[in-house]
Symmetry: none
DNA sequence: TATGAATGAGAGTTCATTCAT
DNA sequence: GATGAATGAACTCTCATTCAT
């Protein structure tokens, strides 16, 4: 009674401020990029003083690192939530493509891709970021592999090499997502979606009508 | 008179200093990224004073913008040089894939992909960069389309939709190049090459043996 | 009742926390110097929160000032305890020299000299510190004068001017203590002791064999 | 003609700005102490921007270190200049005592002692400072030894142990200088001078009338 | 009494840019 | 054309101090 909240979100309550700051950081990062994100911007967005940001994260680097982790968590949490209820592998694969090519349809995804692009750019130069990126991308490929295996088990997909397909599909999705994120006039979101599904259908041998 | 050069490279001579600085800038950018590139670094690499860099480019932004243009020019000049001598479309397509997936085999390509990744990351936030990026990527897709059309004309490739194939292939190549550039242990350069060729073969209907 | 103490140290009990904090402060000061002593350091050493330190002392300045007072009190309490049992003035003088030149032989003296050095340095610039310092040094000279007078009354020392001797001896002891505190390789603790005693013997006309 | 200055001060001209800043730093240090010396203060005193201070010294630490070196150089240069013309050892010793006990008589000495006190206080905690301090004090004792040896050679002084005398005298002078620098009402500058000379006379066996 | 959270006021340092020479 | 010197405007991080609980 005294601790008003119903069990379930205690962790979130404990670091209420921390996650508030992290969300603010993520917001700033996705709008201005890592290198143009100032501690003062994050503080302003969170409605607190810059000193308080330091109080919770000690250094700017730590703040950005944790914000990146949060971005990944949010992405996967949300992705899983959207995927888990779907029974057929084909529909799940379609949802996966939708997730990457039509992120604007889902406000929860925010400007995730802006962050991933920045992450890649940083990873080229900074080993620590590279490690995070690698783990993230492997997780992503594993998600794809898992769907592919399910589809093969249920005879929805042909028995092609799972690793090859994962590499191919993740590459296509990354490449298309970039164009969509950068609002390329040639590669619109829906065009990207269609192209990706067409290619997936061709690779996995299921039929697909745009 | 002594330094007057025989027609052929007059522009290059006029901007001797300019292009020297631009090459230095490109070098620094590819090693440390746009956001960590200082005017002083470029000057140091070029063996001149920071003030002279400003003298030629007025602002850092202008310097980086022109360096980006130079990167594109070098990429395409080199690409064309490698492509133009090749007669068959299939072999030209293979060379295209080689160009993106095995850049380390060609010292002239340098760390180009590090620059493209950075370019994408910047383009998310800055409209001017976005414009440059768009033009660049469209140019890239047109290069692909051109090869595909040639292959179709010579009956090497099937008569599929050229635009679809260009979008698909450029997306796959971008996606794979990212992993290669970031030295992902799962997607090695040669694996990327094989996967890309396999996919191209499937899309265009030519036969390919890894 | 349980914590009620038998008369004798009531003040000390009332300010239990205060003196705990002061001792912590002294510890930090002697290891890092006044200017590098943070309120947070003192709190950490005392095992409490910085806010509680402020609660008891209001400002950092006040804390440092009181810590300085404590340092003096401890020094004199300890000095007196060591001196009072000694009957002859000569032996008492020797103990005085031992106190300043061989502080490391007595763990109770701690890093006192580190604090005095810092006190002098501060006193140059801050009048309030200067006042404390002056009182302290005068107290020190009076201690010397007192021993000298005793020795003259008991015919151990010659009847030289007491003030001159106090100034001379306190200066020599200060000067030597500095070198010892700074671990000068030329002026070791024992060398300092010998030199001081030799000089005292010469000034006061008692015989001394090293 | 073009380089207007007559040979002799070229080095000083080369680092005009550097030494101007160092002098400003020394000025600030002697008035406020090392720990309260801000880069901005030094810049203000020198009439330039803080950034220019960094331009010449890179870090604050380097600035303070070089300022300390300058203080020593100035002290010794000036001391030597005052000593070298004096023929008799006794008179030279007297000048030495005057140098430490009556620094206010000579504007060139400035607030040197404020700096030495601070130096000692820092040396307790910082090894690098300790090294500088040790060298400085040894130099000082060697100056004394040299005068003593001269006096013994000329039969002005008795043949006592030179090292002992140097340690004793330097200690007394340090101790007295502290009191003078701190303007102790009991130990006035002239009193300090008399006491020091009396003690020197006693140690070295020359006659001295205050 | 005791603390965690919060902040304002700096402090050192960086860096693009300017300017006199 | 070329530079060293100079600066203003940030930006990160520190720390004494305050306040609600």
């Amino acid at each position: 009674m005294t601790t008003s909240d119903p069990a379930g979100a205690p962790a979130d309550d404990l670091d209420d401020r921390r996650s508030q700051i992290l969300r603010a950081a993520l917001d700033v990062i996705s709008h201005r990029g890592y290198s143009d994100t100032r501690v003062a911007d994050v503080a302003l967005r969170a409605g607190i003083s810059p000193a308080l940001v330091m109080y919770y994260f000690q250094t700017k680097d730590r703040l950005l690192a944790e914000a990146t982790r949060l971005a990944e968590d949010l992405w996967y949490q949300h992705g899983n939530r959207r995927l888990e209820a779907i029974p057929s592998a084909t529909a799940r694969l379609e949802e996966l493509v939708r997730l990457t090519c039509l992120p604007q349809d889902d406000p929860a995804l925010g400007e995730s891709w802006a962050v991933w692009l920045d992450l890649w750019a940083q990873a080229v130069h900074w080993p620590e970021v590279a490690a995070v990126r690698e783990e993230f991308d492997e997780h992503w490929r594993e998600t794809i592999r898992s769907v592919v295996r399910d589809g093969q088990a249920s005879d929805e997909f042909q028995l092609v090499d799972v690793d090859d397909v994962a590499i191919s599909l993740s590459a296509v999705l990354d490449g298309l997502a970039i164009q969509v994120a950068l609002r390329d006039p040639v590669v619109t979101a829906h065009r990207a979606f269609d192209v990706a599904m067409m290619l997936a259908a061709r690779l996995l041998g299921f039929s697909w009508r745009a």
